[in-house]
């Protein structure tokens, strides 16, 4: 690894839960039975160009393609919708406080996101 290389540690967790029959208490979902998580350190998969926007309320944001890693957080306001085909189809939603992060295919992910009302977001791309 050369000097100044960028690495990203990305972790995603989820906990499916099920309400027991009397409606009092939530348990780990009995179809799944455990908490789920995965993590990885991305390094050689990415380039070294980092673009971080801590806060913006200007929409839509059309990043287009060419990224190796993408992170987006809906900081406040209305839900944010995310498209991977340049805005033709918005397929993913983020509500306030939620974040999305993934290693993306630089040629296949044509990233564009927009608000469903009025929002503030934070995002990061690495190329």
């Amino acid at each position: 690894m050369a000097t100044n290389d960028v690495t990203v540690t990305v972790k995603n967790f989820c906990v499916p839960q099920e309400l027991e029959s009397t409606g009092v208490k939530w348990y780990l979902d009995s179809d799944c039975g455990r908490k789920l998580s995965g993590s990885a350190v991305l390094a050689s998969e990415m380039g070294n160009t980092v673009a971080f926007v801590d806060s913006t309320s200007s929409f839509p944001v059309d990043l287009e393609a060419g990224f190796d890693f993408f992170y987006l957080k809906c900081v406040s306001g209305s839900d944010v919708k995310l498209s991977l085909d340049g805005g033709s189809n918005y397929l993913i939603s983020l509500s306030v406080g939620e974040a999305f992060a993934s290693y993306v295919d630089s040629s296949a992910a044509d990233i564009k996101f927009d608000t469903t009302g009025s929002s503030t977001v934070q995002y990061l791309t690495i190329t």
């Binding site: 989820c14 179809d31 189809n89 999305f100």
Partner: protein
Amino acid sequence: MAQDRKIQFATQVIAKIEAQQGAHTPSVPSKSHSAVPGSLEEYNLTKAGYTRSVTYSTRSAYQYNKTHTSINKSLGGNGYIDINATQPGDSWTSFISPQATWDANVSNWEAVDDTWDGIITISSAVVQLSSDANALAFCYIKNTGSNTVKITLQYGAGSPTYPFKLVAGSSIHFKGYSTNLTLNKIGVVRDSSDSTIEYVIAKV
């Protein structure tokens, strides 16, 4: 049937940059210490003094990772989503509960999407995670194998794109927007070599 279901989820991202610390030698104080300075009436305390010499060797250059200077903090978020209490069959997760009974499972046991350990093999043929056409509420996929897999949100399209990649050990989760994304559009295929995944895919 479950009374109700929900899923809590979270994401954490820490971006670091490699930095280099050049070779350096810390300042080398050569210190003399008296055990107790001064003197008393009957004798001189400085006679009990001693000299302590502290030396530091030169440290060679080394590299280390520090939080990326253009970010300077860890990133992430969390939330939860209510999902339908009645999910489409047992295959809404790749897992089989250890409490499952034969007659409580409505899927065919010979179906490829039912596994005991929650592990699905991913090879060159795209694996559709669900054939259900309801709107997707939430999807979680983890690469439990050793090789990268790719994810499409356009399963069944003529030329589906694969915008997301999962390296070994990593996972992804996302919520569907409105009714634009349905369960049957999520597919997974290997990048270059076979791998395995576990997943949860839930309808609204």
